[in-house]
Symmetry: C2
Amino acid sequence: MIFPEKRHLQLPGPTAVPPRVLRAMERPMISHRSPEFAQLVADITADLQWVFCTTHPVYIINGSGTAGLEAAAANTISSGERVLVVVGGSFGRRFAAIYQAFGANVETIEVPPGKAVDPQQVVEALTRHPDTRVVAVTHHETSTGVLHPIEEIAKVVHRHSDALYVVDAISSLGAVPLQTDAWGIDVVVTGSQKALMTPPGLSMIAMNERAQKRMEGSTAPRFYFDLRTYDRSLRNNEQPYTPSISLFFALNEALHMLHEQGLEAIYQRHVQLRDAFRATVRAVGLGLLAEDAIASPTVTAVTPGNRDLDIQQVRKQLANLGVESMDGQDELKGKILRLGHMGYTDALDLLTVAAALEMALIHLGVKGIAGVGVAAAEEVLLHV
Amino acid sequence: MIFPEKRHLQLPGPTAVPPRVLRAMERPMISHRSPEFAQLVADITADLQWVFCTTHPVYIINGSGTAGLEAAAANTISSGERVLVVVGGSFGRRFAAIYQAFGANVETIEVPPGKAVDPQQVVEALTRHPDTRVVAVTHHETSTGVLHPIEEIAKVVHRHSDALYVVDAISSLGAVPLQTDAWGIDVVVTGSQKALMTPPGLSMIAMNERAQKRMEGSTAPRFYFDLRTYDRSLRNNEQPYTPSISLFFALNEALHMLHEQGLEAIYQRHVQLRDAFRATVRAVGLGLLAEDAIASPTVTAVTPGNRDLDIQQVRKQLANLGVESMDGQDELKGKILRLGHMGYTDALDLLTVAAALEMALIHLGVKGIAGVGVAAAEEVLLHV
């Protein structure tokens, strides 16, 4: 890279943060026990409720996305209770491990990498285990780029059980439609560093009355992640422990930007970017891990397809050109390239990525593709 | 306040953040899996080891100080094990509550507000309970401004038991001498938002071999706070979960500033500021909660002394003038004013505070003190 600060951060997360959001953190510290901070908490909470599509409280935890998942887990079970987790990749597996660490009796539905769970599998598992207390699903499995059918699963969970429905929406919320209240999702977790265009460090958890009632009775050991404490504080627009004040400034500014665009426009942009990038990948002769119908609008997992090349070499060439993507995780390590197109990404960014992908492949000896990937993306972007 | 951004943040925390540290956060996001971030982790770790006076690993957790305390607790006990906690105020009480939440059999040494624990009390408790596995002490009890005799307690803990010695140094480390290795402290916890002059959101935990060995065998339920995971990541200069990248940039810059001054000069400055402020408080006829010998160089708790006034009215007047201090907590709520003079505070800040305190009292009808508090502070500051 000639100019290192010109790096194009197309990761599955953290995503690029808009300059005005970064600048919001230049603001001097304020007291977290001041009326000013309480107003900030009130404003952010209202905006988050809008993004989560909920009227219920949204708790903000100073911690990474995994911290949010742990808070969701530790507040929804007691030791020995049965939890059903959909495992479609590394993050579903992590959610299961967290529930297990807190003493849950975890059943998993194992979904092959790149595939989505069939709601019928959830029905079968609930029928086998009528004592299931929680069904936990990853909305977008960041390790594979697959979107699980969250709305359909909501229906079967509530039809076939009294279980709480807990959704990891860390890399989907604010980019992909998710109607917390309307779909009947009891707990939704997200993080600051994905579609919310904020630096990493905050996790948010929405909880409806059913989940709050469960939380009151849950006996899993917890202190920092005890959301009852956050609930009491939130009634006064406070945070129980010294919050990451600079990140609150940043999140507030980022939420203003989301408001300026509107959720519908944001959802549409992400679909368009996904479709454009998938057209590029196909046009340059690479493969896609997930089928079109289940492909996430936020991250695309690229395979070598029929080309005889090492996809990690493509990733390295892209990085040399200034475009940062990510390797696969766990069983997909070395086998895929994951490119994020969520948050602060627009059509021109996508065309830049398409051009860089052509250049990367040409550097690796692929012929006859100059302009082809860009043309395919333009075709999608022009015909929306 | 005429200019709200001219506010003087003299809280027990968060403390004022130097402009160059705030500006460090304007840097665009980078990947937390990049060689660049690994270098940042390596640099920060080396600097933290210098501040902690340790050669052992220092784990960085994305979370507030309470998160650091929980990590220390959850990695040093198993359910049912006996823990001895010195409770000299709200933060000692919180440390005990955290150990309790994770199943420890907690014994406390209750110390009256404003007093320090006598190491002999620790000896007696250890003699009564030879099965004690952890002795947990707050170095500076932020709720009272008292410094507990950490070095002396280290000696008796190791002489009279095999217990791990765990110290909460959240509002002392980087301002008050604390020799982790030389004093034989097994676990030391601190936070970013106090003497380290960084925004809140990061907690750091140093652990020696004894503590690491205990951690390996500890069965307390934990996932996000499982320091074994952080230990494995740190071997590659990595963080296990998406870290708060902007706060790492800030911490790195703040640690550079500490280096520029040197630890000895920093310790001396804090003693000088404490002594100057205590001279001011006495000169204007207010009282001090802690005696000189145990008074913290980072925070001073002020009482009405013999003056017939509401100390919270003094705090409000100070706030109107632009100086922010804090109320007491729990049983001290309403009874004291806590003023922080740690981190980014110098002699002129202290004189400003002294003058503001005079003004505040004059507004409340106190007579004959104009210039008196400032003169007393100057006397101290000039004769060091």
